[in-house]
Amino acid sequence: MTGPGSAAPFPMSLRGVEALGRLTLDLAESLGRFGRFLAQALLLVFVPPFKLGRLMDRIHFIGSRSLTLVILTGAFTGMVLGLQIFLTLSRFGAEGFLGPAVALALIRELGPVLCAVFVTGLAGSALTAEIGIMRITEQIDALTVMALSPMRYLAVPAIVAGVISFPLMTAVFDVVGIFGGYLVSVKLLGLSQGTYFGEMQTFVDLSDIMVGVWKSLAFGILVPWVCTYKGFHCGHGASGVARATTQAVVLSSVLILVCDYVMGSLLP
């Protein structure tokens, strides 16, 4: 019995073409696997049995446990924005626009993006590491041989929890950030409270808020998708899990920024 034979080696002059072709095929295969993973997970969202217990656990894992970080980073982001925009606007005597500037920056851009990046660092990395360890200790194989779908247990609840948690955490980030800006500009720099909040009501409308909501929903799918995928496909041993975790955080962060730009261009 012989195995599949190996192809004859390419002549030296064509080795570069061969390497490029192999790279392209590997990339196409990886992207296909990546896309199929999401398609399978999204399909299982609507197919019973629904794992509500696992969903609650994942909402706690991704959402509740990240709340302190979200509040802390939201407050300081708002304070920095308040300070820097105040200094800039004061050169033109336009401090009255500080409130809307802080609010729009947070609601449309910084809230969804920074919140997603911070949650990726905290919960996304933990998600990849947890699933990666389950992979190398055969816990995922154990689920499979029990005729249970690992996707249904591990990926689907994480993605649904992301969709629920991310917009809520972004809302918290935005509100805390706006109050951070208020603390600096009103309490420290002497802007009037009425100007800060009054102008905000004039310039921020529902479409701005919806831009933030759509972005946070997209990131809520993106981050758990990347992080669970990397956990499922981690390499061998502790180094494989470590590499998968790093890749998950880096890839999620890059994709968040790319997605933010694309959505920012397309949404009103």
Binding site: M1, G3, Q139, D141, T144, V145, M146, A147, L148
Partner: protein, 256 residues
């Protein structure tokens, strides 16, 4: 019960299984022995449907599981119990929850019935009163016993053991072997075990198969394998480090 036919599997250019044949009869304990890296775990992963062969088949009661997908394969897996090498216990759950997990997920038993069956299984493996512990809080031997309890809680027809005694001291090795034997006599499941434990496995195996370089070089009753004249089998059983001529035994083939 299980018939492996001409199973071939390679990873890249490296063949691991090279046209392997093996038969496992209903209710027997078949132990697969062989050197580390010889393909035992790869064979086991094919038997439980975690890997697909490049060619060949695995017939379970006449159904080729290598051709099954999704629900049809899950139907076969429902008849299986698997004890993984490291136990593969869910570390986020207690011992009780680990053992109860297959019942909660795959049956409609009431909570009281599940609790009663879990307690019964924990008692059978000698872990009464340990149900509230987490897998990280118990010893390696206990983890193996929890894994056995979890594999048997659904009363499967076939149980696969992947080196169930690796890393345990000699007393625990015998304890686990006696436990498997005792449970086998009680429930009469078909057992397929991958093991290195020579000579202990001869005390529990009905039949033994020697896997060497991707082929079954000899299989038969435990006594026959112990008395085998095949130099590869002899070298493995005696633990000799002298190299053995490859051609001497490989041609034996066959799985009966």
């Amino acid at each position: 019960m299980i018939r492996v036919q001409k199973l071939y599997k390679a990873f890249g250019d490296q063949p691991v299984l090279r046209g392997l044949d093996l038969d496992v009869a209903t209710a027997e304990i078949m132990v697969i022995i062989g050197r580390s890296g010889g393909g035992k775990s790869v064979l086991l992963k094919h038997l439980i449907g975690l890997l697909r062969p490049d060619s060949g088949g695995i017939l379970v009661d006449g159904t080729d599981i290598t051709r099954l997908r999704g629900a049809a394969l899950d139907e076969i897996r429902r008849r299986y119990g698997v004890v993984f090498q490291g136990g593969a216990l869910f570390d986020s759950m207690s011992v009780t929850d680990n053992v109860a997990f297959p019942l909660r997920e795959k049956t409609r038993l009431s909570a009281a019935e599940i609790r009663s069956r879990v307690e019964e299984k924990l008692e059978q493996v000698g872990l009464t009163g340990m149900g509230d512990k987490n897998p990280a809080e118990i010893s390696g031997g206990m983890r193996k016993r929890v894994a056995i309890a979890r594999a048997l809680v659904n009363e499967p027809e076939v149980v696969f053991f992947d080196e169930p005694t690796t890393g345990l001291d000699p007393i625990l090795v015998n304890t686990i072997h006696h436990l498997i034997l005792e449970l086998h006599q009680k429930f009469r499941f078909t057992a397929v075990m991958v093991s290195h434990e020579i000579p202990e496995i001869f005390g529990i195996a009905d039949r033994v198969a020697m896997l060497h370089e991707g082929l079954i070089v000899e299989s038969g009753p435990a006594e026959a394998i112990q008395a085998s004249a095949n130099p590869i089998v002899r070298q493995f059983i005696q633990g000799d480090i002298e190299p053995v001529g490859r051609a001497a035994g490989v041609s034996a083939g066959g799985g009966t």
